[in-house]
Symmetry: C2
């Protein structure tokens, strides 16, 4: 296996592609983020890396509340739109139908099948990006995306983002089930 | 759109599925992590949420170094194996062919097409999980996964993990290109 050394790069495959919602100067705003991950289960927490100069970050710092909205693949055009244009120049409060939950400053996108209301808990200034960690206060899922009461990824039909190529994908074929397919092995190399 | 309120849940679609490598008590160990995300571009940094009691976390705390290894979909059985069994009970240093980079305590998996060597920079104890943030010191990519010198997701063929169903997927069809498909819109709802 010949390896190429690329130098230090923030490279990960795949990443999600979500809409981060916040109230900025009294108006709902949404930015697209691929650098998002789960940070803890109990209390449930989520992390997002946001460039320091972002309009959305200003609102999150001001109100200590934000939302994470998981779009479906059919929303790719709107999602990419929110990643290209800044809320400083474009009013993104009109791109989607919105709804409110328990928090006052966490506007959510009705058409996104999964929505998390988050309260800001930690802010790590890492350089170009600030990593924000929010505690999930409430989770909203489209009823049509539940199977036996649980969120079903194939019904959510999420956007999958691929760095490098910069392509948005659908979920592909299932290659195995977690905590199951690995039991076949007894260890050792193939 | 009827929404169901599920209460506070750490829910995100999709997540990656990576192998976190560390030296624990002098032996290489690898754990599977889906709660991994990019934390910053400059300096490049990556975050991973790890349960407090994990064997791998012990090694990362001790040496302040670790690796992130992005497996290809064909490695699903080995990846799941490393998520089921703890390094306390199973010697996972023999599951893969390993290679070393610049850091002394960041063992890497040769068969994974993308490998990041990381130096621990921040540790956030959030409750059930500790969020570790590492600066990427060096990036290794299989030459066969580069297109014009850049990492190509379709060649990497990464594992995509779906919470809820707990299924491993391949990348699916391309539905659009970032910073491009969104330009068609002028704003406003569809």
């Amino acid at each position: 296996m010949n390896k190429s050394r690329l130098g230090p790069e923030a490279l990960l495959f795949p990443t999600p592609s979500v809409l981060v919602g916040a109230m900025v100067d009294g108006r709902a705003n949404f930015m697209t983020a691929a650098w998002c991950g789960i940070a803890s289960s109990k209390p449930p927490a989520i992390s997002v890396a946001i460039r320091g100069e972002r309009h959305t970050l200003k609102g999150i710092r001001a109100n200590a509340e934000f939302s994470i909205n998981v779009p479906s693949a059919s929303m790719v055009e709107q999602v990419d739109f929110c990643g290209i244009y800044s809320g400083r120049k474009v009013d993104k409060s009109k791109v989607f139908d919105l709804f409110a939950g328990d928090l006052k400053h966490a506007p959510m996108v009705a058409s996104c099948p999964v929505n998390l209301e988050c309260r800001l808990r930690h802010t790590l200034d890492l350089g170009a990006h600030t990593l924000i960690v929010g505690e999930v206060i409430q989770t909203h899922v489209n009823e049509s995306c539940l199977t036996d009461g649980k969120p079903d990824a194939t019904k959510v039909d999420p956007l999958v983002y691929a760095m490098g190529t910069g392509s948005y994908h659908r979920l592909g074929e299932v290659v195995g089930m977690a905590f199951s397919i690995g039991k076949k092995r007894k260890g050792g190399k193939k």
